[in-house]
Amino acid sequence: MTSPPSPRRVLLTGVSNPLGAEVALRLAPHVPYLFGCDVHDPISALEQMDFVHADVRHAAIGKLVRQLQIDTVVHLAVMVDSPSDQRSIHETDVIGTMNVLVGCSGPSSRVRRLIVKSSQAVYGAGPTDPSFFSEEIGSVERPGSSGVTRDLYEMEQLIGEFALREESCQVSVLRLGFRVSEDTTLARYLSLPIVPTFAGFDPRLQLLHEDDAAEVIVRAVLGDHPGVFNVAAHGVVLLSQAIAIMGGSAAPVLPPYGRWAARMALRALARLEVQAYLADVIAYGSVMDCSRLEAAFGWKPAHSSRAVMDSLARGREIEVIEAPSPPQEYELQVYLQRRRREARNGHRIAPALKAHK
């Protein structure tokens, strides 16, 4: 297969989540036409991007792809770590992806590149698994899988079939590692002052920095890298280490057998809705082998798992905002604090500010 021409008309689905916004920001200088769609309003205004309210769960998304004559689809509207219920996650991940694929298929389709965000969650976690997941393992159905793991597996099956059927379209699936920016479930779990852990387990965690996640998606869009790739930071941190870095203390109180009991306990003790796959990860750990990514992209994530954890811990050091007089000033203070924190975290500076400089 010859490599497709460089992307000209790019559609980003799920552009309103922080990762989507970051990807849009980084892609904007490289592509002539950038379109974004999501159910929610975008979190940051971007002049170069046209935003459409569209739900991938409806077939209209296919029409959108055709009408806009899109040649590159970046499908980020895949829910992995979401407070939504099981049903809407399934609908977004499986039905939504199906709708996107319908839009990309057919002889008249102009789509030449499809980049899909998947997750490390597709591997699940268990005691019988090898210490490192290579890409082939995720392509085999995991016995007894359920929830997000199963949804992602079904989604990747659909994409795999699509890639076989549509030879003119180059498909990259990126299995992103677990991210701990401030609002993910894993980050909130690790930030608890007393962290309930599974009694007698201290698993290895592998993480991915937000920056690296955005970077790899941009690289996949601008380069030619068909196939499935594991994307995660090098090195591991033990759960106990991660908790120590965050300054909390581990309380081994969760029962090692019976996941539902542990999840209920987490809901009651910490008010955390932990998905089944994440509960397994907290018990057994999940580490991916990213050698294929390094070989194909010639690039590897800049932050190690340890560095990702450190940056989360640094970002959490809260500064006290002194006696705010008028409300505008308070807002400004909060804004500046957030910006400082992000800068320390190694994030890029927020787009609005950059434009004014």
Binding site: T128, P130, S131, G200, F201, R204, Q241, A244
Partner: protein, 344 residues
């Protein structure tokens, strides 16, 4: 002399202030903390006095003070390790060498004084580079693995950590999974073996698996089936020599007279052993018997001379597996002859 410095120079020389967080969490009352600090000293004083009195009364060293000091040192080392916080590195398999080495003292007591292990052929273990140790497996609990690890670490001129492959069953158990991973063990998966060997590690496999540990006392020192010789294929692909290891003595630590299969199935274990002491004496029945051990490392079998394609040659793989098995079995017979008695 006060150094004159321009603001620019001062800025250049300045360092960012370190953020010091106040200690959080519960704190015991001051008196209790004081007692905590002094208690070890009082205890040591007591033991010294007791040992002196006993020596006066019996004329012999009843309490070996060196041992006591070693034990105290071990405790303090453990405390320091607990206080490391997050300041340590583990490798990608979750192996923490510092932590593992802190336990070597405990295993040395078992190695030297309890089982009086005699190790031969340690020179067959390479000082650098990859190798696959293949051993017989016996005793209800895998103590033989810990003793082989201790033997290589204590007896070899270049102390090395052996990375054993364990049944996935143990990695699903509470405490076990945590301890095994932390001390460098990993799951017995061909992928893991290959990765460890590619990192030039010393890998230990037990091809018999639970068939070996769960065998009846009357079958002792008879090797079980070696599976399909998967370890040979992995060794050829990873270009690592195979070093057969014979362990004698591990069979007698828990003489298993029967296996209650239905109970084992119910508990999700591969076997539920009945020994003269377990489960009748409760946790006391888990204390292994002090049999006399011998470990022999045999000459390496250089399978790495074969081309990698040879790993798919079932004839060759089975031939090598049989050779390894025969070497181990012969080594067991030789060492049994050298041993004067089960407990001598």
């Amino acid at each position: 002399m006060i150094q004159q410095a321009t603001p620019k120079q001062r800025k250049k020389n300045s360092k960012p202030a370190e953020i010091v967080r106040p200690r959080s969490g519960l704190q015991l009352p001051k008196q209790v903390r004081q007692l905590q600090r002094q208690a070890p000293l009082y205890a040591l004083q007591g033991v010294t006095e007791l040992s002196a009195r006993l020596k006066q009364a019996t004329g012999k060293d009843v309490i070996d003070l060196n041992r006591v000091m070693n034990f105290v040192q071990f405790l303090y080392k453990q405390r320091d390790l607990m206080r490391r916080g997050a300041d340590y590195e583990v490798d990608d398999f979750g192996f923490d060498p510092q932590w593992t080495e802190s336990f070597i003292d405990v295993f040395m007591v078992l190695y030297r004084d309890y089982w009086r292990v005699e190790t031969t052929g340690i020179e067959n273990v390479p000082a650098h580079g990859r190798a696959l140790l293949v051993s017989n497996h016996a005793g209800v609990l895998p103590w033989d693995g810990t003793m082989i690890k201790t033997a290589v670490f204590a007896e070899h001129p270049h102390p090395r950590h052996v990375r054993a492959l364990v049944a996935s069953l143990f990695l699903g158990m509470p405490v076990m999974s945590w301890f095994l991973r932390r001390t460098g063990q990993t799951v017995g998966h061909p992928d893991d073996t290959r990765r460890l060997l590619e990192r030039d590690e010393l890998v230990l496999v037990f091809p018999e698996g639970v068939r070996g540990t769960g065998k009846n006392f009357k079958d002792r020192y008879r090797l079980r089936r070696f599976g399909r010789g998967g370890f040979v294929g992995t060794a050829i692909r990873s270009r690592a020599p195979i070093i057969p290891v014979s362990v004698v003595g591990s069979e007698e630590i828990y003489p298993m007279v029967a296996d209650v299969a239905p109970l084992a199935r119910f508990l999700g274990m591969p076997y539920f052993p009945l020994t003269p002491f377990w489960p009748w004496l409760g946790p006391l029945g888990m204390i292994p018997l002090p049999s006399k051990w011998r470990i022999q490392f045999h000459a390496p079998i250089h399978v790495e001379d074969n081309p990698p394609e040879a790993a798919d040659d079932q004839n060759l793989v089975m031939a090598v597996a049989d050779e390894v098995r025969d070497t181990i079995q012969q080594g067991i017979y030789d060492n049994l002859k050298l041993r004067r008695g089960v407990f001598l």
